[in-house]
């Protein structure tokens, strides 16, 4: 177990190193990405340009720049943004983490419950109109781009029906810190939670349904029925419990990616300054230090999520336990 953990950490470091190098190279390979002129300002004189380039170390060879950036990121931890000069990248990311976590955890709870219910009902009533309806709605949920759904939600709750009794409680777009105002925190996040969860409820519902239907064809289901324990028990204790493995595995990976900033479109649409939005802004403005920080943060979480999923898999499926 310890060995497995150590091996994982080693893998993680390797992956993050690889990603950081690739990001770095892509940035400098992009034509027009040289930040000196943008930092120096519009119509800067050539001397100013040279000065800026020197100040930012942009006239040094690439490997040196990479090493310097990594040092600033990990060792001295004072890497600053190219675009918002003086803004330290790491504290900015750290401050954005609770916002992303609030969004993602809330949505995850919603879609776990929702996906479970949808998948279970659809799988259990396979072929019925209920099953078909649920699957159609799920498909619609999966097909709707999250930013479109978010904008439509905004249109309804912020703009058109904002003053109606249904939505007058919806506060202005943006994040309200929990410590400052728990109720406001909750109110501001409800609509983003629902929007983000919709896609996943559809997806997970369909996956669970398929998994469940497949599981219910297994012999042990027939055996369980032969024991006379009742169909509901058969469905839940034997069918669902066994299908959960695929469900939970998928969840772990999706959740990891989202915590790493994958919900960026939702964050942009709802004005939540989470890690995803930071990534989005940094990509728009080609702010290399910020890009590097958010990408490394994201890759850390994806690798971590993989690891956690493996551990959880072990708990859920005893057959895998002994393989360790």
């Amino acid at each position: 177990m310890i060995y497995a953990l150590a091996a994982r950490l080693g893998q993680m470091a390797l992956v993050m190193f690889g990603i950081s190098v690739v990001v770095f190279l892509i940035f400098f390979a992009t034509p027009g990405s040289d930040p000196s002129a943008r930092i120096a300002g519009r119509n800067a004189s050539q001397e100013t340009l040279q000065q800026v380039r020197h100040d930012f170390g942009l006239d040094r060879p690439l490997p040196v720049q990479y090493a310097l950036m990594m040092k600033k990121l990990f060792v001295t931890r004072d890497l600053t943004s190219f675009v918002n000069r003086g803004q330290k990248v790491i504290p900015t990311v750290t401050r954005a983490i609770p916002i992303t976590l609030s969004l993602v955890i809330g949505a995850a709870l919603l879609w776990l419950i929702g996906g479970l219910i949808v998948g279970l009902i659809a799988g259990a009533t396979k072929g019925s109109w209920l099953d078909r309806t649920l699957m159609m709605i799920s498909l619609a949920g999966v097909s709707m781009p999250v930013f479109w759904l978010g904008e439509v939600a905004n249109l309804i709750t912020q703009s058109r029906f904002h003053d109606s009794w249904a939505f007058s409680w919806v506060p202005a777009l943006g994040y309200v810190p929990f410590g400052r105002d728990p109720l406001g925190w909750f109110q501001a996040l409800v609509i983003p939670w629902i929007v983000l969860a919709t896609l996943y409820v559809g997806l997970y519902g369909r996956v669970l349904r398929a998994s469940l239907i497949e599981t219910m064809q297994e012999d042990f289901i027939r055996m369980a029925r032969a024991k006379g324990i009742g169909e509901r028990q058969v469905l839940l204790r034997h069918g669902l419990r066994t299908s959960l493995v695929a469900f939970v595995t998928m969840f772990g990976l999706d959740f990891g990616a989202l915590v790493g900033g994958g919900a960026l479109l939702t964050e942009v649409v709802f004005g939540l300054q989470g890690v995803g939005k930071l990534t989005y802004d940094a990509l728009q403005t080609l702010d290399l230090p910020m890009i590097m920080a958010t990408v490394i943060y994201a890759s850390f979480f994806v690798v971590m999520a993989n690891f956690v999923v493996d551990v959880v898999h072990m708990f859920l499926d005893p057959r895998v336990r002994d393989a360790f």
């Binding site: 297994e218 012999d219 042990f220 027939r222 055996m223 369980a224 029925r225 032969a226 024991k227 006379g228 324990i229 009742g230 169909e231 028990q233 204790r237 034997h238 419990r241 066994t242 859920l316 499926d317 005893p318 057959r319 002994d322």
Partner: protein, 335 residues
């Protein structure tokens, strides 16, 4: 005292609607099982023996299945019984075990948990008591270290142990009847013997009857009291084990027993087999379904032959008894 049989199956028919037409898996099967009796149901694949068992338990859930006939268990009609009532009988009065013990057990629950589940579904019994009972059962089927095995998962046991565990699970509520669908097919020979012993002793230990479905004649010879031979969905011969084995009446049985390689004597150059293949269940031949392969077929066989013969030992063949005497191959006496 009532001597009515434990299980009375009358004219059981199971058809499946399919693209090719009606698949007649079980055609008018009738038999009885008494208390403490072991019935062997023999036949090759596709003869309808497994479907018969599933029909008794009501486990045929295909929407294209059409069942008819009567299945009376302890005087109660099972055919058409609603699910709720059926669940009170399943596991409690009638137990069932299947061919592959690995796939019969839910991989994510412990052995003990699965036995406890059956117990608590049918009896008012606390968790601790149920667990203790489960351990007893595991012990009763001959598994060593029963308490630790109870906390193990199915994949952690060997094939033989698993099947024992499955038997323990099926017998946990002392059902009067156990349906065993090819219980030893997936096991190796040495383990087979042990399991058969176990099944054989269920009569003594639990007082239950058993319907043992198999294509393995040796299994039947070992364990059964009565034998029904099935072919193409019908029972073609039925009778006490010794009678059927030593004096088979039906040409199909002759072919079956003839194909058993001799235990001693010169080694045959080829194994004898019945020529031809069993008919498609969706396109059965007119009359006796064995007619195309029967060396003794004649026109009378175009009519479906009823079961006929001395009391207790009948066959579905139009050959008169004398002819049967004449034509039956000599059998070595089985010990």
């Amino acid at each position: 005292m009532r001597f009515e049989p434990l299980l009375e199956v009358k004219d059981l028919t199971v058809h499946f609607r399919s693209e090719e037409g009606l698949v007649e898996a079980v055609r008018g099967v009738s038999f009885n099982v008494g208390r403490n009796e072991i019935l062997g149901l023999v036949g090759e694949s596709g003869s309808g023996k497994s479907q018969t068992l599933l029909a008794i338990m009501g486990l045929i859930d295909s929407p294209n299945a059409v069942l008819s006939g009567s299945i009376r268990f302890e005087g109660q009609e099972l055919m058409g019984l609603p699910r709720r009532a059926l669940d009170r009988i399943r596991g409690k009065k009638i137990g069932m075990i299947f061919q592959d013990p690995m796939t019969s057990l839910t991989p994510v629950h412990t052995i003990g948990a699965q036995i406890v589940e059956t117990l608590r579904a049918h009896e008012q019994i606390g968790r601790k008591a149920a667990k203790d009972r489960a351990v007893e059962l595991i012990d009763a089927v001959g598994i060593p270290a029963p308490r630790s095995v109870a906390d193990r998962y199915p994949h952690q046991l060997s094939g033989g142990m698993r099947q024992r565990a499955v038997i323990a699970m099926a017998m946990s509520c002392n059902p009067a009847l156990l349906l065993a669908d090819e219980p030893t097919t997936a096991l190796d020979v040495t383990v087979q013997a042990q399991i058969l012993d176990l099944i054989g002793k269920l009569r003594e230990d639990f007082g239950s009857s058993v319907i043992l479905v198999t294509h393995d004649l040796g299994v039947v010879a070992e364990t059964a009291d009565k034998v029904n031979v099935m072919y193409a969905g019908r029972i073609v011969e039925e009778g006490p084990k010794e009678a059927v084995f030593l004096q088979p009446r039906h040409p199909y049985s002759w072919g079956l027993f003839g194909s058993i390689p001799p235990f001693d004597g010169p080694r045959p150059a080829r194994l004898s087999a019945i020529p031809g293949a069993p008919p498609k269940l969706s396109a059965l031949p007119k009359g006796c379904s064995f007619r195309p392969r029967c060396p003794h077929a004649h026109d009378a066989c175009l009519q479906e032959p009823p079961l006929a013969g001395p009391v207790g030992h009948r066959s579905a063949c139009v050959l008169p008894d004398a002819a049967i005497e004449e034509l039956a191959p000599r059998q070595e006496g089985a010990a």
